[in-house]
């Protein structure tokens, strides 16, 4: 490509050129454009080149792959973390149905009866237990072998266990904790593991097992059952609350469990023994329970 001759000063034009005029003209003219004008034009030329439209979304095009990978990784980690947390919460809420079933047969007298749904050991256990294991058995066998037997009890035990697993998702952990706190404030005494049914009269136990079962086995009421319970009316709820365990002391609960199968005479002997040891308050509580269980049994003189 050499359309133009090299700039050697030679002027084309052939016969139309006059060397003297050419020389004189070069002597005469020396004007140059001002420097600011040069700068402005050169800057405009660079701007035009630099401002040329790049391919669509050059920046996005160049960073599309890294940004996509980063977004995918962040999303995956978030989803996995969320699923793990939700899974842990779900399994942590379900297991409380199991301990009440197993406790009656092998409950040690000094067992802390206060179930803590957010207990760390339970949570750890819930994490390792596969989700299938958290599903409640249709008919828990230990319940049938316990001291308080009855089909209604076993079905009651299954219901609360199934309910949280079913309805745990829509509620956050904080909301459940708030609900538990509200329930605890309403109740006269914190829930016990098993002494509830033991205190209740046999007739009551058969007539109102759902309350005992729910109170004992469910550390937190199932969220779906809460509205239903409220709709059932306050009378039953109040009646059930009256029959809740009178003593919160685990030792007293163990004592009651010990006397569960004993005749009235043994109860009276135990009451007298407590009185002799100076433990009047437990003695009085035990006596009140004795009166509830054996209303027609004559009391020793001076105890009426």
């Amino acid at each position: 490509m050499a359309l133009n001759e090299p700039h050697s000063g030679g002027a084309p034009g052939g016969a139309e050129r006059d060397p003297r005029l050419d020389r004189l003209y070069r002597e005469a003219v020396r004007e140059e454009p001002p420097a600011p004008l040069d700068s402005a034009i050169l800057a405009a030329a660079r701007r035009e080149v630099g401002a040329r439209p790049r391919p669509i979304g050059w920046f996005l095009h160049a960073w599309r792959v890294p940004v996509s990978i980063a977004a995918a990784v962040v999303l995956s980690v978030s989803v996995v973390t969320l699923m793990m947390e939700e899974g842990a919460d779900r399994t942590a809420e379900a297991p409380p149905a199991v301990p009440p079933v197993a406790q009656p047969s092998a409950a040690p007298p000094a067992t802390d009866a206060k179930p803590e749904p957010r207990d760390v050991p339970e949570k750890q256990r819930a994490v390792v237990v596969p989700p299938a294991a958290t599903k409640p058995a249709p008919a828990p066998a230990p319940r049938a072998s316990g001291p308080v037997t009855g089909g209604s009890v076993s079905t009651e035990a299954a219901a609360p266990a199934a309910a949280p697993a079913k309805t745990a998702e829509p509620f956050s952990g904080a909301a459940q904790e708030q609900r538990q706190a509200d329930d605890a404030a309403r109740r006269p005494a914190p829930p016990q593991t098993e002494p509830g049914p033991a205190f209740a009269p046999r007739a009551d136990r058969e007539s109102a097992p759902p309350a005992s079962g729910r109170v004992l086995s469910a550390p937190s009421p199932p969220p779906a059952a809460a509205p239903a319970e409220a709709a059932r009316g306050s009378s039953e709820t109040r009646a059930l609350r009256r029959e809740r365990p009178l003593v919160a002391d685990p030792q007293k609960a163990a004592l009651l469990r010990e006397l569960e199968q004993q005749p009235p005479e043994k109860w009276l002997e135990k009451i007298e023994e407590l009185r002799r040891r100076g433990e009047t308050a437990p003695a009085e509580e035990l006596l009140a329970e004795f009166k509830r269980r054996f209303p027609g049994h004559p009391l020793p003189p001076g105890r009426q």
Partner: protein, 190 residues
Amino acid sequence: MSWDADSSDEELMLSYRDGDAGAFDVLYRRHKGGLYRYLVRQCRDSAVAEELFQDVWMNLIRARRRYTVAAKFTTYLYRLAHNRLIDHYRKHAHAAAASFDDGDGEELASLPDGREPPPDAALDTRRQAQRLLALIAELPEVQREAFLLQQEGGMSVEEIAQATGVTRETAKSRLRYAMAKLRQGMNQWR
């Protein structure tokens, strides 16, 4: 990329079209003086010449994407300048524009006659150059343009015709008249 003196104007312009700002720098340095002087001589006003000069280069910059090698770059550049000058004349001085249309066929008698004081033999070249500039300024527009395109653009008759949009014969005639007048005027100083 570095450009040297052997690089043709067309190569430089193609490189600039493709985004090489350095090629434009070389191109501009090569042609800025000639184009500026062409405009100054033509419109006789340095301020207007600067404005037109900037317009011409900006038009070139804006049109760079459409640039193809159809002729010499100088022809392309001075064609842009010629068109810009015509626009300027039509907007500000209709008489000048008219003289562009019918500037041929002038009589040599209208050239500066010999009634001016005879040149002193000791007149230096500088004064002769000043005289030449005065003679150029008195040339008709089209003849002056042909002469300036030859001097500043280094164009041949064919290229002058192409840049000004006339036939080769017209361009040749204009150039011949201009040269004759200038020679006649300068000879009186000898």
